[in-house]
């Protein structure tokens, strides 16, 4: 622990030893993962430029065509260009999958911070609710929730947030309780730093990396689950291009047009591996063995 005197104020500022100060080299997995994710972001952002056709345009005279120079991945059962739908679906899956993991992170972190910081009955209530949610088969509840809330992006985000916030709450709460017992935080309290400042300057930076690593595995799960809900006929509106729905629609034609289901699945796996590599790389940095 380093104690450093701030120049003029004369107040003691206490800083934890900074683990990133040494700046270990960026792990290869992080680089590859970021590159994969980067490609997906570019494709989603420039979908209109990359797509070769209007993803919604139906040509019923040219249904279930095989891949060709005109239709790179052939056409689906309504004669829509599969490649263009795949490209546009990147927008849906990337954004909704990401938000479906981000919202629980925000809710969970906030609740965890409140529980850890204030303690007492607030902590008891939050922790008990967290225990209860954890004990339920939440993904089965997810189906029931989406069933009741209806299809669309908002119901999906609400349902995901309702079921996936618990691990973040636990993580932050534990981190705060641990930090409360640490010398430097005790010193900060003695030095009269306001609580908010202790939270933002000392506790959150320490838990951010762990949270991010967890988030990376959660975003994979959210993306896969989003596709799964679409596959089950829940989830997003039918007309919106989405990988899970493409797989589901291609299912009837598995025998002869196998690519219709195969390719969107491979794309999901590629995106998932991108996230996983980023998570792996961050975890390596977290352990400090870059």
């Amino acid at each position: 622990m380093k104690l450093r005197r701030r120049s003029r104020s004369g107040r003691l500022a206490v800083e934890p030893a900074d683990p990133v100060a040494a700046k270990p080299p960026v792990p290869t997995s992080l680089k590859i993962g970021a590159a994969i994710l980067g490609i997906f972001v570019v494709v989603a952002a420039f979908a209109p430029l990359i797509a070769t056709h209007d993803p919604a345009f139906q040509d019923l005279t040219d249904k279930l065509a095989s891949p060709s120079a005109e239709h790179w991945l052939g056409t689906d059962q309504l004669g829509r260009d599969a490649f263009s739908r795949l490209v546009y679906a990147a927008r849906t899956d990337l954004i909704v999958g990401f938000l479906a993991a981000l919202f629980p992170l925000i809710l969970g972190t906030t609740l965890g911070a409140i529980a850890g910081f204030f303690g007492g009955w607030v902590d008891t209530v939050i922790s008990r609710v967290a225990d209860a949610v954890q004990s339920f088969p939440v993904y089965v509840f997810l189906i029931a929730l989406v069933f009741v809330l209806g299809t669309g992006v908002m119901p999906i985000l609400v349902a995901f947030t309702a079921i996936a916030w618990v691990p973040y709450t636990r993580l932050i709460r534990t981190e705060i309780l641990r930090a409360k017992g640490l010398d430097y935080v005790a010193a900060a309290v003695v030095a009269g730093l306001p609580h908010r400042r202790i939270l933002f300057r000392h506790v959150l930076p320490n838990s951010v990396r762990q949270t991010v690593v967890y988030f990376m595995s959660d975003v994979i799960l959210a993306t896969v689950t989003l596709a799964t809900l679409s596959f089950l006929g829940l989830g997003l509106p039918v007309e919106q291009p989405e990988w899970g729905r493409m797989i589901s629609e291609g299912r009837t034609f598995l025998r002869n047009q196998w690519w219709l289901s195969t390719v969107p699945g491979l794309v999901i796996v590629a995106l998932g591996m991108g996230y996983a590599l980023i998570g792996d790389g961050l975890a390596q940095r977290l352990r400090g063995d870059g």
Binding site: V148, V224, L232, R251, G265
Partner: protein, 313 residues
């Protein structure tokens, strides 16, 4: 407070959870858009008829009174009836449960037989290239949407090679095993990575523990050490994990049954969802939730039997 006390405490702890489930499904029922009495009565029913149904269902009473009546029905094993087939939900559940149990059982055996040897291997060669390779492969399977894996297996082994039926269940045990093979394998591929990672880390924990050091220092080695000290402790951790994973497995069963047209509970749930058949969705949600709680309770009992230390925790 001995081990018995621990188990008793867990049983008592399950009661609020059960109440929570009934609250959850009851609130869901309130959130469903539309008037259930109107739905049941049909489009051409008279006002009096709708009113009569409302009274019959108890919808004219206050919410707390409705909740009490609802729980009363549940306790008598009455889960209502399907809007579509008019069949009692309980008989749908009874009919569908065996398929799901077969699927889960087979998937559990398969996944554990993949996860345990690989996890043990990875732990033994911790930090080496084998460990690394196993981690990459298991991550790879984690990113695969299970329904897609199922379709790919169907494409190759059922449509292509013709070794397995494309869907459905069988009558005889042999037929069933053949029908369940691909679905169970699909589910196993989805859940084994988490089991593997967890088994690997609990093996490493046990390996670094004091009692293992003690065991080694008194001259224990080889199989005795492995069986009595390592396996027993890692098994306790594994049992807990499997129970925790149960809810996730049930979600997997829903997906896999839909993919393979297996007429289990999950398939019934998805059909009920698309048919807006609320009583069935609700009934199966309750069955799944109660099953998860019961299995977790059972796991606690098993762990308490395996590991005398639980009473301290």
């Amino acid at each position: 407070m001995g081990r018995f006390g621990f188990v008793l405490r867990r049983i008592l702890g399950a009661i609020p959870l059960l109440i929570g489930i009934t609250l959850f499904t009851f609130i869901l029922l309130q959130l469903v858009p539309g008037d259930p009495a109107l739905t049941l009565a049909g489009p051409r029913a008279t006002e009096e008829r709708v009113e009569a149904i409302r009274e019959e269902l108890g919808l004219d009473r206050s919410l707390p009174a409705q909740y009490v009546a609802y729980v009363g029905n549940l306790l008598q094993g009455n889960l209502g009836q399907s809007i579509r087939s008019k069949e009692p939900v309980t008989s749908i559940i009874r009919e569908r449960t065996p398929v799901t149990v077969w699927l889960l059982g087979a998937a559990l055996i398969l996944s554990v037989s993949i996860a345990v040897p690989l996890g043990a291997h990875a732990a033994r060669h911790r930090g080496g290239w084998i460990d690394h390779a196993i981690r990459v492969v298991s991550t790879f399977f984690l990113t695969m949407p299970p329904f897609w894996v199922g379709l790919m297996l169907l494409l190759v082994f059922a449509l292509g090679a013709g070794w397995f039926p494309v869907g459905g269940f069988g009558e005889t045990t042999a037929e069933r095993l053949r029908a369940i093979a691909l679905p169970a394998f699909t589910l196993a591929l989805w859940i084994f990575p988490i089991q593997l990672q967890s088994f690997r880390s609990s093996m490493i924990d046990v390996d670094g523990s004091d009692y293992l050091q003690a065991g080694r220092s008194i001259g224990l080695e080889g199989l005795t050490l492995f069986r009595r000290y390592i396996l027993r402790n890692a098994t306790a951790a594994m049992v807990t994990l499997l129970a925790v994973q149960m809810g996730f497995m049930l979600f997997g069963a829903v997906i896999v049954e839909t993919t393979f047209n297996l007429n289990g509970l999950g398939d019934a749930m998805v059909r009920a969802v698309s048919g807006r058949d609320f009583a069935v969705v609700q009934g199966i949600t309750i069955v799944f939730a109660v099953a998860v709680i019961a299995i977790n309770l059972l796991a606690d009992v098993i762990v308490a039997a395996l590991d005398p230390r639980v009473e301290i925790q």
